[in-house]
């Protein structure tokens, strides 16, 4: 008895250990076969042996590897990208990556590194990106520089580094991005920046460091692509220290969770005059006061960001801002668009006044001076426009992109956008539009390609609503309703023959007539999801080759096979979240579905309807026997043959007997 029990226990333990080791080896998720694997958060203590040796990309984050040795990764000789985020790594010994010649990216974020051996990064032929964010570094000297000559990116943010000083042999030849944000650097000296002067086109981030002193001349003659001092308390300290530098971008904004920042007086920006810069960001900085003097040293800028700067008006008598191309005035408090004094910036090509904190009045002719303007964003600015939009857009003859979405209401008059004949993109979404039936609001927009009318409560029964839009490629009518929920054959889409993409989701549609989209010969992408359609009306489309159709979240039960067979080429169809019948009456769909899995989008959500025996089963897994089938036919044929043969034999015997009697 005891023997039997012993055997049982041994067998049980054997089965468990087999299953356990097999479980560990197979748990990583394959992203791309033989190339990309994700082993995130699996409690692993070593690289799974089942990983293919030719793996190139490996996410091994949130596992457990307290120390790295030269044998840890030696199986993965083709590794290119390795993510070791939060693996509780403390010790990185010598030659850890000696077998990984192709490795170009190592991510060690969130590991408290107690030791990095001198040859820790030896091995890779050309290591390009090294991430040591939040690894407990107190000094840049902690990083061994052996074999880092080709380094392009070094991320050492969120550490405890107090000095910017770089060692003499720090790799500068290929370095393009040095991230030192959120460290403890309070002071920068000339000695600290000596090595940085050897870099080219560097992006240097010192965001979140409480810098209180920069030695005069520390950055003399330094050249950068981007310098980020975000969140600094006093920008005059920064500007004084970076005189005579060249940079394309200078980020001097701050953040909502930084307290105690000093408001900017005009004299604080004086040092900008000696800095060669194109693009300055001053987001969330407040000006005390904002005057013409504030702009004295901003005259050479091409791009200025004054987001959330507490602005109510820009002084109209500022001079010299002729070079400015892009101006960002989002999240300010202008009551009238004329208060931005657009004439001060005659060369603007991009203007953004979105998310205005007050109701913005667009007035008349306030933007007339902006004859070069190509991009105008006035979204989410509480605009109510009773007479839109020729007076408001007067002079904007070069406008290509206009965003008036997420506002209160627009009343679109006849030829509402006559001033902007070159418009290519028009976004009016999530704003109540009032359009009279007799007017052609868009009739001169012959170049318009994209029109967003989502959630605008427009009357889709207006036959000539889209007149003039002969080059329209994308039309979004999401959440607009159609009369009685039906798209008729005779509809507004006849005015947009070039349409390629049509969005009609959430339009409360019940049906689509059989020729509704026949005039749209170039149509390739249609979204009819989240409606109340009960039939898959593919006959409404003139050409079903290489077509994308989204019929998800409707009320379709049955789909005849001939509705699907015309889908050809690389067509994709989404039938998910419909109450599809999985019975013999729907065998046409079920058969086609299994034969065309490559055409199916969202197969996980394409399941049998809830109220029958196969409820919830994926359509691809359904197997039904309907009618006789092949086996049945063979059986029947055999039976017929046997009957015939038996009849023949009986007949012959009967005839023989008769003959003998005779």
């Amino acid at each position: 008895m005891a023997c039997c029990i012993y055997c049982l226990i041994l067998m049980g333990l054997f089965c468990v250990s087999c299953k356990t080791s097999e479980h560990v080896d197979m748990v990583c998720t394959e992203i791309t076969a033989n190339k990309n694997y994700c082993c995130e958060d699996l409690g692993l203590t070593e690289i799974p042996k089942a990983l293919p040796a030719i793996t190139e990309i490996l996410d091994f984050s949130f596992n457990f590897l307290p120390s790295l040795h030269n044998s840890t990764f030696n199986m993965l000789k083709s590794l290119v990208y390795l993510d070791l985020t939060r693996c509780q790594i403390n010790w990185v010994y010598e030659n850890v990556f000696q077998s990984n010649a192709k490795l170009n990216t190592i991510v060690l974020t969130g590991n408290l590194l107690l030791f990095l051996a001198e040859t820790a990064f030896a091995g890779p032929y050309s290591l390009k990106h090294l991430v040591l964010t939040q690894t407990g570094l107190t000094s840049i000297m902690f990083i061994p520089l052996h074999n880092l000559d080709n380094l392009e990116t070094l991320l050492i943010g969120s550490n405890h580094i107090s000095s910017l000083e770089l060692p003499p042999n720090f790799p500068t030849r290929e370095l393009r991005y040095l991230d030192l944000q959120m460290n403890n650097i309070e002071s920068i000296s000339t000695r600290d920046t000596k090595i940085l002067k050897q870099t080219q086109n560097l992006t240097l981030s010192l965001k979140g460091n409480a810098i209180v002193h920069i030695e005069p001349g520390a950055f003399n003659s330094s050249s950068f692509y981007s310098l980020d001092f975000g969140g600094c308390i006093d920008i005059s300290v920064i500007l004084a220290g970076i005189q005579n530098i060249q940079t394309v971008i200078l980020w001097l904004g701050t953040f909502q969770d930084v307290e105690g920042t000093l408001p900017i007086s005009p004299v604080m920006l004086q040092d900008l005059c000696s800095i060669s810069v194109e693009n300055v960001n001053l987001q969330m900085r407040h000006f005390r006061p904002l005057s013409t003097a504030t702009f004295l040293c901003l005259t050479k800028l091409r791009n200025l960001d004054l987001t959330h700067a507490g602005l109510t008006a820009i002084p109209p008598n500022i001079s010299g801002m002729k070079m400015l191309k892009e101006l960002n005035l989002n999240e300010n408090s202008f009551q009238h668009i004329c208060n931005i004094s657009s004439a001060v910036f005659p060369s603007l090509t991009h203007l953004s006044v979105r998310m205005n904190l007050e109701e913005l009045n667009l007035g008349s002719g306030c933007l007339e001076a902006l004859t070069q303007l190509q991009y105008l964003d006035l979204s989410n600015s509480q605009i109510e426009n009773s007479d839109c939009c020729n007076e408001q857009l007067k002079g904007l003859s070069n406008l290509q992109y206009l965003n008036l979405s997420y506002n209160k209401q627009h009343w679109l008059k006849n030829g509402a956008f006559n001033e902007c004949a070159k418009l290519e993109v028009l976004d009016l979404a999530f704003t109540h539009l009032h359009i009279s039936a007799s007017q052609g609001s868009f009739h001169n927009l012959h170049l318009l390609q994209i029109l967003n009318l989502s959630h605008t409560f427009i009357n889709t029964g207006i036959q000539h609503l889209l007149t003039g839009l002969q080059n329209l490629v994308l039309l979004n009518l999401d959440s607009n309703s159609f009369d009685s929920g039906i798209i008729l054959n005779d509809n507004l889409f006849q005015e947009v023959p070039s349409l390629k993409e049509l969005i009609l989701s959430s339009c409360e549609l019940i049906s689509v007539q059989s020729r509704a989209f026949h005039s749209l010969r170039d149509l390739k992408h249609v979204d009819l999801s989240h409606n109340k359609l009960t039939a898959l009306s593919t006959e409404a489309f003139s050409n079903l080759k290489n077509m994308y159709l989204n019929f998800a979240n409707n009320r379709i039960h049955f789909i005849p096979r001939d509705m699907l067979t015309s889908l050809s080429g690389k067509s994709i169809i989404n039938l998910s979240y419909n109450p599809l019948e999985c019975s013999c009456s729907n065998i046409g769909l079920l058969t086609w579905y299994k034969q065309n899995l490559d055409k199916i989008e969202a197969p996980e959500g394409t399941v049998c309807c809830e109220h029958k025996s196969l409820a919830g089963m994926k359509l691809s897994a359904v197997t039904l026997s309907c009618g006789m089938g092949t086996a049945g036919a063979v059986f029947l044929a055999l039976a017929v043959i046997i009957v015939i043969v038996a009849s023949l034999i009986l007949t012959v015997r009967f005839l023989k007997r008769q003959y003998h009697q005779i």
């Binding site: 005891a2 029990i5 012993y6 049982l8 226990i9 049980g12 333990l13 468990v16 356990t20 958060d41 984050s61 949130f62 985020t85 939060r86 991510v107 974020t109 969130g110 991430v131 964010t133 939040q134 991320l155 943010g157 969120s158 959120m182 965001k207 979140g208 975000g230 969140g231 953040f255 909502q256 969770d257 930084v258 987001t307 989002n330």
Partner: protein
């Protein structure tokens, strides 16, 4: 018999599957206020506490919160829906981070970083509603990020 019991016990231990539902944390337990929370994130719990439950006002109260990022913060949205007794008393949504508009210092922080916040928070409502004899329990509405407050009798 004893051996069989031991074997069964060992096998049960080895096969035991710990379900991954995060615990309900108690943030406040005062005579007139109880606040609990539970993480609906499928991969991790997070930490939250309020300084001085008895001193909470709607203007501002101090919290401390911490979590480890499982994704880098490129875009971050905040949606808050506070429902008491079937009535929505607070509905708030805001974009905290997006490319080109980093409102906070934690925008752009990387996967694996530990984020810790200690500081004031404002609810943005004028007064806390008076409720009596209400015991609220929390259940996750969907795998990530949404809470639904259920009701139970006290």
């Amino acid at each position: 018999m004893k051996m069989l019991n031991a074997a069964s016990f060992i096998l049960v231990l080895l096969y035991a599957h710990v379900s991954k539902e995060w615990p309900t944390h108690t943030v406040c337990k005062e005579h007139n206020l109880e606040i609990y929370y539970k993480s609906c994130d499928p991969v991790q719990d997070f930490a939250l506490s309020i300084d001085g439950c008895s001193r909470i006002t709607v203007r501002a109260f101090t919290i401390r919160a911490a979590l480890v990022l499982r994704h880098s913060i490129k875009k971050l949205f905040l949606n808050v829906d506070l429902i008491i007794n079937g009535k929505s008393i607070l509905n708030y949504s805001s974009t905290l981070c997006e490319p080109g508009r980093p409102r906070f210092t934690f925008c752009g922080r990387m996967k694996g970083e530990h984020i810790y916040y200690e500081g004031p928070v404002s609810l943005g409502i004028h007064e806390l509603p008076q409720v009596s004899s209400l015991f609220s329990f929390l259940k996750c509405k969907s795998p990530v990020g949404l809470w639904e407050e259920g009701r139970g009798a006290k």
